[in-house]
Amino acid sequence: MNSSANVLLFGIARDLTGQSSVLVPLAPDTRVSDLLTTIHKQYPALLGIQSLLVAVNGEYAEADQPLTPQDEIALIPPVSGG
């Protein structure tokens, strides 16, 4: 059975989707890069962002990091604090 992940969106990613979080199907063995592919298919508008990183449980994640439904996942568009 497939589960899904609730992915937090901030800044331009939130504006482009009109949502502060989105549900994304999470097949077993889904990795960060797979998640990005799925999200880009669901929300092609996100392809317009210069770069999109993924944070897992509050830490920047590598593309090959595996994901579980328990993880807190967030999309991190280019930061611009300061």
């Binding site: 901030f10 800044g11 317009g48 962002i49 967030a74 280019p78 930061v79 604090g81």
Partner: protein
């Protein structure tokens, strides 16, 4: 001391926090809202943070600064929400024995915050808006 706040930053209390009898230098960097971006008039900025991760990423930067320099005190406070022209968006403060370390550490902290901390700034112009750094 590390904080995100939706209310104005209190410089006096930050300075007070940095008091140390061993300090020969206290550096404050204040980032404030400018009235234009490349001559396009700015009306206001809106800051948004992934709070939990922003705090932990700032903590990593402060830890790294402590590793590189002998800091007697360090304060980082970043605003969130709507900021008008002239308002303070960020305060970095460090206390050290000598001024060179204070200047260097202060600059390192603000420069690194701009690169890694999940905080986003939207510039609201009189005729549109843009998330800074987000567009190709």
């Amino acid at each position: 001391m590390i904080a995100l706040t939706s209310t104005p930053i209190d410089v006096a209390s930050a300075l007070n926090y940095l008091q140390s009898s061993q300090a020969g230098a206290v550096d404050l960097f204040l980032g404030v809202v400018r009235d234009n971006t490349q001559n396009r008039p700015v009306d206001r900025l809106e800051y948004e943070a992934y709070d939990k991760m922003a705090l932990s990423e700032i903590q990593k930067i402060v830890d790294s600064a402590h590793h590189r320099w002998t800091l007697l005190g360090c304060v980082v406070i970043h605003r969130t929400g709507t900021l008008l022209i002239g308002e303070m968006a960020v305060l970095i403060g460090v206390a050290t024995a000598h001024r060179a370390d204070a200047f260097d550490a202060c600059r390192y902290i603000i420069d690194t915050i701009k690169q890694t901390v999940p905080i986003w700034k939207k510039e609201i112009f009189t005729d549109g808006e843009v998330w800074v750094n987000a567009h190709p």
